[in-house]
């Protein structure tokens, strides 16, 4: 697999705030890469730097082996879908989709079939004549997507394109987006703060925190083998549970997910239930351990507050105490090698 997009020691600050701190990352051709992180962590800024509408303070960005760091946005041949879709309000749906083709000086008779084609694919043929403020949010999202797809770019940048949709529409749109990416076979770089989107869409996910990729890998790795306690807390419905632990002579903490522990009367550990919360088929038990640490457990039955429960931890990950934590982590955080391998377009 060849490298489609490369961040090489990219640094960006807004005033004193460091939003990208020496980021190095390769995205492969045809990959669906999701940048996941809490709000205000500079995820969108990364995307905007790839698009060329935000300048880098240091570092380089490569697309297809070409250094595009100082290339104007209109010369990069990428498609971008903004969070608010940025549909042109003075144009109808047809002209919105046709715009990128017009900018490439396609003749009129070639534009028409191309637009109709992509509109048919996205199921928006009937609204081609509408004004963009006369269509629903789900339709607007599809128009924005159609405008991105219409000129066959090889790199798609999507900035939280699902966050403005109703919950029900969003669910369908998410599945469609994945299907579109598979059908096109092109590289998607997708920014979101919603880990469900990362989980369902991504081939690989990079979790960004304090301007760095805290961990990069398949989403299941982030969940099963978090590199740091921060990842353990951020990924998952509830934060990871921790207990003080010593493993092969190293001080640290043991981390486990609620479903990795089994509540049973013969359990080795004990905790007092504070709150019991019913979620679907089971209950989350927010408990306090003897040392005061709070943990989440999962139980099939509801348990009254104040009851003492016993449990066994069947699986766990081990985090060393801060100084050495990074090196002992099961998955290395985004590496910063001294020398990068050559880029193969």
């Amino acid at each position: 697999m060849s490298v489609k997009l490369r961040f090489e020691r990219v640094t960006k600050r807004f005033g004193k705030r460091l939003v990208a701190d020496d980021i190095t990352l390769d995205v492969d051709t045809g990959e669906f890469f999701v940048i996941l992180g809490p709000s205000g962590e500079g995820k969108s800024t990364l995307l905007r730097m790839v698009a060329g509408i935000e300048q880098l303070d240091a570092g380089r960005i490569w697309i297809d082996g070409q250094d595009v760091t100082y290339l104007a946005p209109n010369k990069r041949n990428i498609a971008m879908v903004f969070q608010n879709y940025a549909l042109y309000p003075n144009m109808n749906v047809f002209r919105n989709i046709a715009f990128p083709l017009k900018m490439q000086y396609f003749p009129r008779e070639e534009i028409e079939p191309k637009v109709r084609d992509v509109a048919k694919t996205l199921g928006i043929t009937e609204i081609l004549d509408r004004r963009v403020n006369q269509i629903s949010g789900g339709q607007q999202q599809r128009v924005a997507l159609a405008r991105a797809i219409v000129r066959n770019p090889t790199l798609f940048l999507l900035d939280e394109p699902l966050s403005n949709l109703d919950a029900r529409v969003r669910f369908a749109a998410r599945a469609e987006l994945k299907k579109i990416q598979k059908d096109l076979g092109q590289t998607f770089l997708f920014v979101t703060h919603d880990q469900k989107e990362a989980e369902t869409l991504s081939d690989r996910t990079g979790v960004i925190h304090l301007g760095r990729f805290e961990q990069v890998g398949p989403f299941s790795d982030l969940y099963e083998r978090p590199a740091t306690r921060w990842i353990g807390d951020f990924v998952g419905d509830v934060p990871m549970n921790y207990m003080p632990w010593t493993e092969s002579g190293a001080e640290g903490s043991l981390g486990f997910r609620p479903e990795w522990a089994e509540v049973s009367p013969e359990g080795a550990e004990s905790a007092t239930v504070q709150v019991s919360e019913r979620v679907g088929d089971f209950s989350y038990l927010l408990c306090t351990m003897a040392n005061g640490w709070r943990i989440y457990l999962r139980s099939l039955r509801s348990v009254d507050a104040g009851t003492e429960v016993r449990f066994n931890v069947n699986r766990h990950v081990f985090f060393q105490t801060p100084q050495a934590a990074e090196s002992a982590a099961p998955m290395p955080p985004s590496g910063r090698p001294e020398r990068l391998p050559p880029v193969k377009p």
């Binding site: 905007r48 698009a51 209109n74 715009f99 199921g123 369908a172």
Partner: protein, 298 residues
């Protein structure tokens, strides 16, 4: 690639509320009374001007107690102004039109790029710089007009329409820029970014994608600049070269101060409002900026 099923339209937003004037009832009689008072306050001077301009002199300026309701209307004053032997009212009207359109067009030509640039600077800096532009408007016109006239005499443009227009532009430009900066700042930044990513160069993005969206502001800016020039008399008077014709306000002024009769001047003051009204009516439909903010959710 297989087609996707159509997406539902059920989350369409409700139509915006329509403004309706309050019904006339006893409870809001005060509202209507105050509207009437304010209307009379503003319209009465205009009525007086109309009265003087279109009735015989003997009922108005030569009468000890001019009647508020004219015994008879006449076009004599107007006729004399148009056909009188030394009258320059017609030519001065054309000169004024020429200068006003020049000022309006130039205000947009310079104002659009200036305002775009300022709008990309960040609110505080843009606001500061726009305020600096108003310095010319803060200084009394007369202190600027005389040195400028000297310069125009040097280059041989004294009294020409261009010299009057360029000088009036000093007053019009800050106002248009101020208006357009606000309009550009009101547009979502991502619209321009989207256009750039979609392959438009910077110029195409500004003039093809942003400028059409601020059409109401452009029309308002043009109208303001146009009217500012149409009314302006200080610069026009200082730059008035008796060898050529004067703009309409200058001509009206001159008719009060010696040349011609004051009633003709008053009649033409009334006529001077007509082009303003026509222009406003023609451009009014662009002043409603309906639906322009839509299409961008967030």
């Amino acid at each position: 690639m297989n087609p996707l099923p159509p997406v539902s339209s059920i989350d369409r937003r409700p139509p915006p509320p329509v403004y309706r004037a309050p019904k006339f009832t006893l409870s809001n009689i005060g509202l209507y009374a105050s509207i009437a008072v304010i209307s009379i306050f503003f319209l009465f001077p205009i009525y007086l001007i109309f009265l003087i301009g279109f009735t015989n002199q003997k009922y108005t300026i030569f009468s000890g107690r001019p009647p508020l309701i004219p015994p008879a209307l006449t076009l004599v004053n107007l006729q004399e102004g148009l056909t009188g032997p030394n009258s320059q009212f017609l030519s001065s009207m054309f000169l004024s039109l020429e200068v006003a359109f020049f000022v309006g067009a130039l205000a947009l030509l310079i104002g659009i790029p200036t305002a775009y640039g300022l709008s990309r600077l960040g609110t505080r800096l843009a606001y500061g710089l726009t305020t600096v532009l108003f310095v010319v408007n803060m200084v009394p016109s007369i202190t600027i007009a005389i040195p400028i006239s000297v310069q125009f005499i040097k280059v041989g443009l004294y009294g020409s329409p261009i010299s009057i227009g360029l000088t009036q532009e000093l007053l019009a430009l800050p106002v248009t820029v101020f208006l357009l900066v606000g309009a550009f700042q009101g547009l979502p930044k991502d619209l321009e970014n989207q256009a750039r990513v979609d392959g438009a160069g910077r110029m195409r993005a500004i003039y093809g994608n942003l400028v059409p969206l601020i059409l109401p502001a452009l029309v308002a800016a043009f109208l303001l600049a146009w009217m500012l020039s149409w009314d302006e008399s200080t610069f026009a008077l200082i730059l008035y070269n008796p060898a050529s014709s004067a703009t309409l306000p200058v001509n009206i002024f001159l008719s009060f101060t010696g040349r011609g009769s004051p009633t003709i001047g008053v009649a033409f003051s009334c006529i001077a409002t007509i082009p303003v009204i026509i222009l406003t009516v023609i451009l009014q439909k662009y002043l409603k900026g309906e639906d322009l903010a839509a299409g961008v959710r967030g």
